[in-house]
Amino acid sequence: MTLVSPAIACRALRKRYGNVTAVDGLDLEVHPGECFGLLGPNGAGKTTTIEILEGLTSPDEGEVTVLGRHWGSHERELRERLGVSLQESRLTEKLTVIETLELFRSFYARGRDPEKLLADLSLEEKRDARVGKLSGGQRQRLAVACALAGDPEILFLDEPTTGLDPQSRLQLWERIATFKAARKTVLLTTHYMEEAERLCDRVAVVDHGKIIAEGSPAQLIARLHAPHIIEFSTEPAVNEPFLAAIPGVSERRQRDGRWFLAAGSLAEAVPALLSALDGAGARLVSLSTHRSTLEDVFIALTGRELRDE
């Protein structure tokens, strides 16, 4: 695809925990300077994959290179050049924000000034607050600040905004965008479609430890051949053969008593749907439309929803 060697690459990655295959033959290439998202529901194998790439978990099979190096032979060098933020890891509560940053800074031979990191992540006001007293959003920003302490070339973020309020999420997105703007590489996992669409140059949809689709968010949505989703419910309910007759609808799914139709053109499909319902004597209970998102891509690929927790 490119002549530049990939920032992160893995081939035929496999990892089993007892009877559960968490990662099942996964290939991946992340280019330098791009933000790459591993997208999928909880339990899809995202965290296992990113931890293998971070050198924290060893795969049962497969090969990993990061910045052209192997974990086995260049662990220390790689650790100096990477920044990692883990899911669910908690920083020592009794230390203050600045003490925590200075501690992490001390681990790296070269790195960023902790005071600057505070400013970058809008934590100046919390400089001398104990970590235990921070809000969820502040803790998450501090975790990212710690990952940035060594001025890394690649930033690994596992579910960076899970459980955060919208404002904290926006703040983190801005910070990640700034890091990306400095032509650094980001690999993140998320089950928020909006996050992937906002931040990622490319995403890989992961399900059952495999990549089932890969590309830019726009490419993946375009592959649906249906930029719009029509969501409705009626009284009495209508059936699939009835809907098959409606022109311009490429796909039909039913969930919780509602129908979801994927349509190429709303101008064509909506009037056709309304007149068909009218003719059948079905009363419309609700109707809404939205542009297709990665969420719809995921549903189209797996028939399941990406759930938030």
């Binding site: 100096e80 669910e88 001390s106 681990f107």
Partner: protein, 346 residues
Amino acid sequence: MSERRHPLVALTVARILEFVREPEALFWVFAFPIIMACVLGFAFRDRPADPVSVGVVAGPSAGTISTALERTGIVRPRTYSTVEEGLEGLRTGKITLLVEDADGLVYHFDPTRPDARLARLEVDAGIQRARGRRDPAVPRDALVHEKGSRYIDFLLPGILGLNLMGTGIWGIGFSIVNARLKKTLKLMVATPMRKSDYLLAQILSRFVFLVAEVVLILAFGVAVFKVPIRGSMGLLALTAILGAIGFAGIGLLVVARARTLEAASGLMNLVMVPMWLLSGVFFSSERFPKAAQPLIQALPLTAVNNALRAVMLEGRGLTAIAGALLIITAWGAASFATALRIFRWQ
């Protein structure tokens, strides 16, 4: 680019800050040993020995026997109306010996109890003298109240050793298991931090508390109970330092793989409780059978207690305690090396 501290220094400072901001931990390290020394010190302070309670069965001679017993100054008699009641008192520990004078004198007592055997001697002497025995030789008692030979003098070095062990193993154990549970450790091994730096910092941070802890306990003992320190302070400090390092190393090993606080505290107790009993904290470890001595003497707490007592109470020099210091150092070094190899970081 910015300047940085050496990671070992940064980790040690972080650990110290974490500790001093934990009020409960401070209490256990500093207040607990002092409270314990106070309670035990007062319980065993210098005072006349407790009188021995002895029962006398009612009868014609009961009055004269009781008077004779009272005259010894050591025995406190109480009267029972029947033998059965007296035996009941003996069984429930209200008295240590029962005197019956129906068909000649009978002493009821349990010969496996040392205090009962002593009571028999005192009671018999009192009654025999009251009935006219003349002792051929009358000795004079010269009582010893010398500092350095009282129970508190024996106890204080033991409490110091106990505290070195307790804070080394508890202090290190819980903080590590906590960091493992919260995945702080995992986050740290994702950085270029050296694993040995992390473990060494745990040990180094102990020094700060060590100084406060040892000085406080010693000062308390000297000021309140006039416990003597006969040997060199330098040697005492060396023993405390090596002891602290040794127990910190053992603490690291104990929790090297524990995944939960419950598992960790179980393991810590498994390691510490036998030493509480065997290593001569409250009574001399020499009391255990000879066959068990090689094992008991090889325990780290026995070594530390022996060295502390040799320096404090006997004023011994380095050569006398070199063996004990070697034992605790070997424990610490071997534990640290093993812990580093088998440590679970995530």
